[in-house]
Symmetry: C2
């Protein structure tokens, strides 16, 4: 995911708070949704049918099986690559095989940053190879690399206090304590711009992660147009700590960095799959995940899981002949990792129809055991969703977490006032693997994926089918 | 560590058993050690003094601090390398600075296997780089590598059932389920020999580990002199699973493997540091760890931690003026990783004096929170040790685990009938990092190391000082 901001942190705070309380969300918030509560309760049978079909029926294991086949065939699917476009074609074909024909793609111009050679070596105080992953859009070093002394800072304040002349010509290593992804990622996303502004020749960042087996984490970063662009990369927690110890012992640290990359743009596609509504086909409930991934690992977790639970939703409803009144649209966003590029393009293209989006959902923070939803919307909207979540007691997915900006791509639309939700799941280890070579099928679990698919499909169905719109 | 055999597995079994039981080891085993129990109890003050000195006194944090300095300075210390010899010199100097002069080194001829280029790529069904680590003593491929189809087996029985003609010219991938290190490591140590015997051109093994962030684990392996030596390497759990899935889908998998290495022998040294006994200086209690490491990672856990707690023991006793009646010998074994080479040399050289070893200890399975000891010896010997462990209730390190072969190097001497013990500690994650690039200081914790140092020093002191020998 690209933008989590304070989400993870708030989510944890909220959980600690909510789990110490035995009252339901609707009780705590004095929800009164009138007759709608009874109507929602009446979906109990449909929910049970969907759960049975996915968890122990014909769909059992299928989400994992199809995700594995997809991930094994394509691997990483970076923005702008041919493999991403091939994977989009594959998904369309896979969907067509289910007899779903309402599929359109919408062209989007996307960044195409290609990692080349990357090598970082400590030269002083001792010779050591250091594992790195260049950050998205990083410029190259000179072909023969650059050698420079390192200064280590914990945060931007520490950097600001160092005179420019002491930063000029140096490599800046940001070594922030990991608080949460949302709070700490700023050192990855803005580190090069701020170090470049002070005359550094390159910047490195301690990977934005709580755990490591010498595994660097890549990710997006943004240069400042008014500042010289400098090469920038992430290093592992272990090597950041090593350099920190040398630095604290007042030893001179010299690194040699060689990086190359190319950067242009390509045309990619958002993919829109519709299960047309029976009564209000122009009204939309959207489920989504992004199909692009980073170029390391296999994009199984980020966001293969989210992609496949959203792929499965219309398909399962079609198979079960559960046609909601509103249209259920499944969107496979493109180029999320380089800045929600597909989502911005969709919002712009469909702006005049945004009011027709009744609710928008995205899973992009893992597909571990589902626990509920992270919901943005008015108090009434949340009360309705909380009532729906009561139907998922059997799979322990009843928790409603409040957020103003759940999901990643969908935040672009939620900021426009559309209510929406992301999948709340048992993703405590998500950032162990995020944006690393370890984002593989081994992170996924067939039974947990089934639960996510069943939950995701059921929630989307109810919201697309109930008599009331989700209020704004 | 090199040979764990069934240890870890048995240890877990034992724990499950023992923790469900509230009776002490001495009660359960009807121990009767007579007046010795009172004598052991009288060491309570010494134990408290040592714990205070290390955990909250002048030695607080020193084990971690010195280990970090050492590891940062030298990094990996493979058998036969100059850096290993430099690190031995450093440790001698560090010990001399404490005023300990009884230090000798004993030359040992050791293997010197040097990893060169290692590259593995999947060519079919899709192109993908695969992370590998060659196994110790692996021969090279032809300079331009070799390409071959892969067959995947779960165990040796499956391989045996495949006709030789179907193995000839292929690469064999062993994909065993990880049960325990001791039970599963045979596929690493004997895989190349058994695949070579059936005409394979190379063999790969799923890393012997329960968890991975795409992190391959190296380790030792033994060719069969009567069989063609074939190149052999470990791959990550993730890539083994990927290849397994392709294989199960009946897809043809072709890999291209390039490996180079050199292999000769060098002279290294065991290091013996004595704190001479006041009454029976010829009688020995030995504490030990190995100073060599694999060539990946930093050898902080395997076995930097064990090395430093054993380095600290005589030093702390000297500082506290606690001179035991028997000599406390601290040994830094060399070339453990390539087959307990230092330990075999020591046993051979000192064979006529083996009867003077009263007790031998090694820490080579982590220095996480200490829980007690894994003890080999007669029932009476174990009863005495169990009585000693009662003194460590304050740090929750009272558990005695029975084993016939605790430790790694010391197993060579224990097999000769010498009683001994290894450190039982909270090492549940040990094999996440073992023999990988992730064996760094980040695995170590200053406070846990202090507890290990205090415990290790105290136990060794009591056994070296009590009136009775540990019976054989």
């Amino acid at each position: 995911m690209f933008i989590l901001a304070l989400k993870v942190f708030l989510l944890i705070l909220y959980q600690v708070h909510s789990e110490s309380d035995t009252k339901s969300y609707t009780e705590l918030n004095g929800c009164d949704i009138g007759d709608l509560a009874d109507e929602i309760a009446s979906y109990d049978t449909d929910v049970r049918d969907i759960i049975d079909y996915v968890v122990s029926g014909p769909f059992k294991g299928k989400t994992y099986y199809e995700l594995a086949k997809f991930v094994d065939l394509f691997g990483a699917r970076p923005s702008g690559s041919k493999v991403l476009e091939d994977s989009i074609d594959y998904m369309i074909q896979l969907t067509r095989q289910e007899g779903i024909q309402d599929i359109v793609t919408e062209d989007v111009e996307v960044p195409h940053w290609v990692r080349g050679t990357e090598k970082l070596s400590m030269v002083q105080p001792r010779i050591k190879d250091i594992s790195i992953l260049g950050l998205g859009r990083s410029v190259s070093t000179p072909p023969n690399g650059l050698s420079a002394e390192v200064i280590v800072v914990r945060n931007f304040d520490e950097l600001a206090k160092i005179p420019d002349k002491d930063v000029e010509g140096k490599i800046v290593l940001y070594d922030p304590k990991f608080i949460s992804y949302g709070e700490t990622v700023v050192y990855r996303s803005q580190g090069a711009a701020k170090a470049g502004a002070k005359g550094a020749v390159a910047s490195l960042v301690r990977s934005i992660a709580p755990f490591s087996i010498n595994s660097p984490h890549t990710g997006s970063q943004n240069y400042d147009d008014n500042v010289t662009k400098i090469p920038t990369a992430a290093i592992s927690l272990e090597d950041a700590d090593l350099i920190r110890r040398f630095y604290d012992r007042k030893e001179k640290i010299v690194l040699n960095l060689t990086m190359s990359s190319t950067y242009d743009t390509k045309i990619s596609r958002n993919t829109l799959i519709d299960l047309k509504g029976t009564n209000y086909p122009e009204q939309l409930v959207i489920v989504s995940g992004h199909i692009d991934s980073w170029d390391v690992g296999q994009g199984a977790m980020d966001d293969g899981g989210g992609l496949f639970v959203s792929w499965a939703a219309p398909l399962i409803l079609k198979r079960l002949n559960l046609r909601p009144k509103r249209t259920l649209r499944s969107i496979f966003w493109t180029a999320e990792e380089l800045g929600l590029v597909g989502a911005y393009a969709y919002e712009e293209k469909h702006r005049k129809d945004n009011h027709k989006i009744n609710f928008i959902m995205e899973s992009d923070e893992g597909t571990f055991s589902p626990r509920g939803l992270v919901v943005a919307g008015t108090p009434k909207a949340r009360c309705i969703v909380a009532e729906i979540l009561k139907l998922f007691e059997s799979i322990n997915a009843t928790t409603l977490v409040e957020s103003d900006s759940p999901g990643s791509d969908i935040a672009v639309l939620i900021q426009k006032g559309i209510p929406g939700a992301s999948l709340h799941n048992a993703n405590e280890r998500y950032f162990w693997f995020h944006h690393t070579e370890g984002d593989t099928m081994n992170v996924e679990d067939p039974e947990e994926l089934d639960l996510c698919t069943a939950f995701w499909t059921s929630v989307a169905y109810i919201i697309a089918d109930i008599s009331a719109d989700i209020p704004r």
